[in-house]
């Protein structure tokens, strides 16, 4: 595979690291156009504001939750990209943060990125992550038939699943 210059991704990481030296725990360039940044969950609003105002990332593609029961943590991933700045509009930045599995609470980014509205509702319903500050946090996809636990957690096993 030809080596594509990764200068935009490296500039991005340098800007983030200079601004938030302690809060950013780890950064990685997976390949061209994909940057992964792991940070502390308390700084989510500051990092989101910096990314929107200084760097120009203006929308959220999705919010995913990943369950690691062995490590007793829940990861929340935000997929961020930009429409307004043409020079970075093909980069996806994946912001990762870890939450303790028994009390997954994090601040909601809806006040900064309104596009995260329905995504956060879905993550709340599927993984039980509470987003504080969300204007309308209720279940989205399984509203009136599901009284059980959040279905996507790994230790919630449905007995008939995977049976042939």
């Amino acid at each position: 595979m030809a080596q594509i210059a990764l200068s935009r991704e490296e500039t991005l990481i340098n800007q983030l690291k200079t601004r938030f030296p302690q809060e950013i725990k780890e950064t990685k360039i997976d390949r061209a156009r994909r940057v992964t940044v792991t940070f502390e969950k308390d700084q989510v609003l500051d990092i989101a504001k910096f990314m929107r105002d200084e760097l120009g990332f203006d929308h959220v593609k999705g919010v995913a939750g990943v369950d690691y029961p062995a490590h007793k943590k829940l990861e929340v991933l935000y997929f961020i990209a930009s429409y307004s700045k043409p020079e970075i509009q093909d980069i996806i930045v994946i912001l990762k943060t870890e939450l303790p599995r028994d009390n997954p609470v994090v601040n909601s980014v809806v006040s900064i990125w309104p596009s995260a509205h329905f995504h956060e509702r879905e993550t709340f319903e599927m993984f039980g992550v509470k987003f504080e500050g969300h204007p309308d946090l209720r279940k989205l996809l399984t509203l009136d038939n599901w009284e059980g636990p959040p279905p996507m957690l790994k230790d919630i096993k449905f007995p008939e699943m995977g049976q042939r």
Binding site: A64, F79, Y83, Q89, D90, S115, M152, G162
Partner: protein
Amino acid sequence: MTTNPSQARPPAPPTAVTKTPEPSTLDVSVGPQHPGSGHCRILIRVDGDYIVSADPDIGYVHRGCEKIAEYRNYVSNIPHLERPNIADAIHLNWAYVLPIEELQGIDVPPRGRYIATIAAEMNRIMSHLYWMAIMAGVFSGHTTAFMWGFGDRDLFIELAEMLTGARLTYSFLPPGGPRRDLPYGFEHRLTKLLDYFEKRLPEYDRIFFSNPLLVARTKDVGILKREEAMKLGVVGPVLRGSGVKNDVRKMEPYGAFADLDFEIPTFEEGDSYSRFRVRFEEMKQSVSILRQALQNIPKGPIARKAPLAVPEGEATGRVESSRGEIAYMVMSDNSDKPYRVKIMNGSFRNLIALPFLLRNVHVADMPIIYGSLDYWPVEADR
């Protein structure tokens, strides 16, 4: 009648969007049983003939695709991950195998990429014809375009059946490349069909897209301005109808799109009519892409063998489907079943535009706005 459409429409009363019901409003449930594609319930609050606010209630077709994906191996996941948008199944399939091929380090040979491109562009035309038929026949009462849309779509489905063996649910792209090569006689039949379809497109324009009744119903209805579209994060024809030139085929070329020459239609007004025209122009561009791909397709192998297990890692792949950008994130843990599959598709991301646009509009504008967003509930609910 040739009155100016914006003058003929009286202005909406200035009602604020509040949570508490005012004494003069009524809550109506446009329930899950309604004509149109799939089940979606919108709770609208009306004040006379004007919708004050809307609240979508989705999840009536939620089948738990992401949870099921963790219990089946990578290749067995393809049939049920392509069902959410059955009219456009190749794109969902392709977006799922792109991250798997990236994790396994497989390069699909050029001929395989061209074949996948041909199948994908045929699928785009089929999906836009389905949209046109439902938009015409069900939402705006134009039954001729309903019949024409389904009639011409069946010709493309026959060709897809010749190529892949199935009408709608192809499962055509396992990791490594397409399953089959182009059969004998396929190029000839596709060229004949494209000649016929290019003659039909001006007829669609005359009867449906430039129909004065349709223009009066859709011009200046549901205007989504450029900054709002970017802030809400909408995708696909909704985004391009609001003036943002953004298409994954140009940003991050996959398949054979790096070698092909095509344009991205963009319109500035942001109303429902410009979203209609974006889809119409995209059909024309797809015809041109198909012709170029048939001419330039190289010879050689079509696929590489892919192992069953995927090494540990995480990758995100995306394609541009007919409803917008579809991105799949696949996380693997060195076994033959994925650890996590996250689906971000166009219909779910466009959903945020629905309560945003359904404010201070007539009740009769609701099917037009809903149809112009091309919201497919099965895809949004996964």
